[in-house]
Amino acid sequence: MSASVPFLGYGLGLRSAYYQQILEQSPDVDWFEVVSENFMVQGGKALYYLDAIAERHPLVMHGVSLSIGGPHALDPDYLKQLKQLADRVRPAWISDHLCWSRGNAHQLHDLLPLPYTEESLDYIAGRVRQVQDILQRPLVLENVSSYVRAAADDFSEWEFLAVLSRITGCELLLDVNNVYVSSRNHGFDPWAFIRGLPVDKVRQLHLAGHSDYGDYVIDTHDHPVSDPVWALYQRTLEHFGPVATLLERDDHFPPFEELLGELHKARELGDKVLAGRQQCA
């Protein structure tokens, strides 16, 4: 990661199940990532806790509804509210996914895969530039887990991400678990994916759990991080150096201490890898 990008440390996804404990315990969490849409409301508990936690911790905004690759026009109302939320919480950065989540007529509320073609690249690059003009900052885009892929791809997913970031200036959120999930489903080398991304563009990492059904793997965020993903994470840090790392959990919420323990594991692993890199340097 380039020296100009701050290393935020180790963070957790902010979920309502833990609001009160976060305020009461001042846990050893360097930062929190908020799902932007959960806070695009006019009042109530979510905004109360958001403001209180923002006073104590750095925040990053992570959206699920931008639909950067969707067939529709970008939604000006959505972007306006996203900008208003950013003005309120002053996030370190704003991310969403390289996917489409809205169709021609309806919201599909999923992170759907895109064909990685020249046509997609031209189309999405234009939209990324539009969003960056509105938000007045680089957009950070995450690789998604996928369960089918287009036969007509001109690029691998990592090549597409690399080219997109080079031509638009957008940055990347590398979800290590998603790489693992997709590599199992599609039969590619996860390390080829990670190694194929530009070192100076990866702003953030995601860690999460998945459900392994043997023949395929689904990105469910309802389990602890698996051993193969931890191994891939370690190798990722060895390659990239310090990159802000976020642990996601969206279902089957464990006791807060358990989640903190998992985050601590990421921190220990990161410290060890980074100490090793410094010795080598």
Binding site: L112, P115, A151, Y216
Partner: protein
């Protein structure tokens, strides 16, 4: 296939009840070593519906309890098919559920269910409405005597007003308190029910007809305090100002009112 055509085919597949993709879409995709295209597409198809059902189950817990899992899922699936989501936030998915129930079930069945749906939806509206600037007893104490007759109020932004013909509030409360679920009954006299948020907590209460008429006069009838006293004098005579102040104090303590500045 062009990107937009491909996405249109994918969208049609997700929205269709049948999880079999059209051959053109299927041929445009490839699977992996142990994940075939059909299974991969089925994962997306299942996820779409499961995610939306989950949202409706969380927003309409009393209806879910009343109908049971299978019947609720059938109703909610019909609703989703009829009204696929249009808003980027799933928070708004259930907005049309009450109207759908009213339009698509026979009246004897739909009326109490729809009323319960509107009650549950009202709680979601109160939950994340703007805080507003509710009047407080402290701010009322600073009113000069000459301001009282002309005092006008409006509802605090979170306030939801429901006219209940059935015992929907009892049904809802029994689910909330995990007590025995009563039979649905028609109320002898329809009852106004208020739902609102004070600070961060949602509250509810029903009003007797006299209190409902008085509050409605202030909020919807445009009465000022003096007019409220005049209206109450018909029933309460010389006790009208006392009754007006008693109710007003209660409404202010509850956090229902904002001052309407002319």
């Amino acid at each position: 296939m062009r990107l937009k055509d491909w996405q249109l085919a994918f969208e049609s597949f997700l929205l269709d009840d049948d999880a079999t993709a059209n051959p053109v879409l299927g041929k445009s995709l490839i699977g992996g070593p142990t994940l075939d295209v059909g299974t991969g597409l089925a994962i997306y198809h299942n996820a779409y519906k499961a995610r939306l059902l989950e949202v409706l189950r969380n927003d309409f817990v009393a209806i879910l309890h009343w109908m049971g899992d299978d019947e609720f899922d059938r109703l909610a699936s019909s609703y989703i098919r009829h009204s696929p989501p249009g808003h980027y936030s799933l928070r708004w998915l259930g907005k049309g559920f009450e109207a759908f129930i009213r339009e698509h079930l026979v009246p004897e069945q739909s009326a109490p269910l729809a009323e319960l749906a509107s009650l549950e939806w009202a709680f979601t509206l109160a939950f994340d409405a703007p805080a507003g600037q509710p009047l407080t007893l402290q701010s009322m104490a600073t009113l000069a005597p000459e301001e009282w007759p002309e005092l006008r109020v409006k509802p605090t932004p979170s306030l939801q007003w429901l006219e209940c013909r059935f015992n929907s509030l009892s049904l809802w409360r029994s689910v909330k308190e995990e007590s025995d679920f009563p039979d649905s009954t028609v109320l002898e006299i329809p009852q106004a029910c208020l739902i609102w948020r004070c600070e961060l907590i949602c509250h509810y209460r029903s009003l007797d007809p006299a209190e409902a008429t008085a509050l409605n006069g202030l909020l919807a009838g445009g009465w000022n305090f003096s007019e409220l006293c005049t209206q109450l004098a018909v029933i309460y005579g010389e006790g009208a100002p006392l009754q007006a102040v008693t109710w007003l104090k209660q409404w202010v303590q509850d956090g229902l009112l904002e001052r309407l500045q002319r």
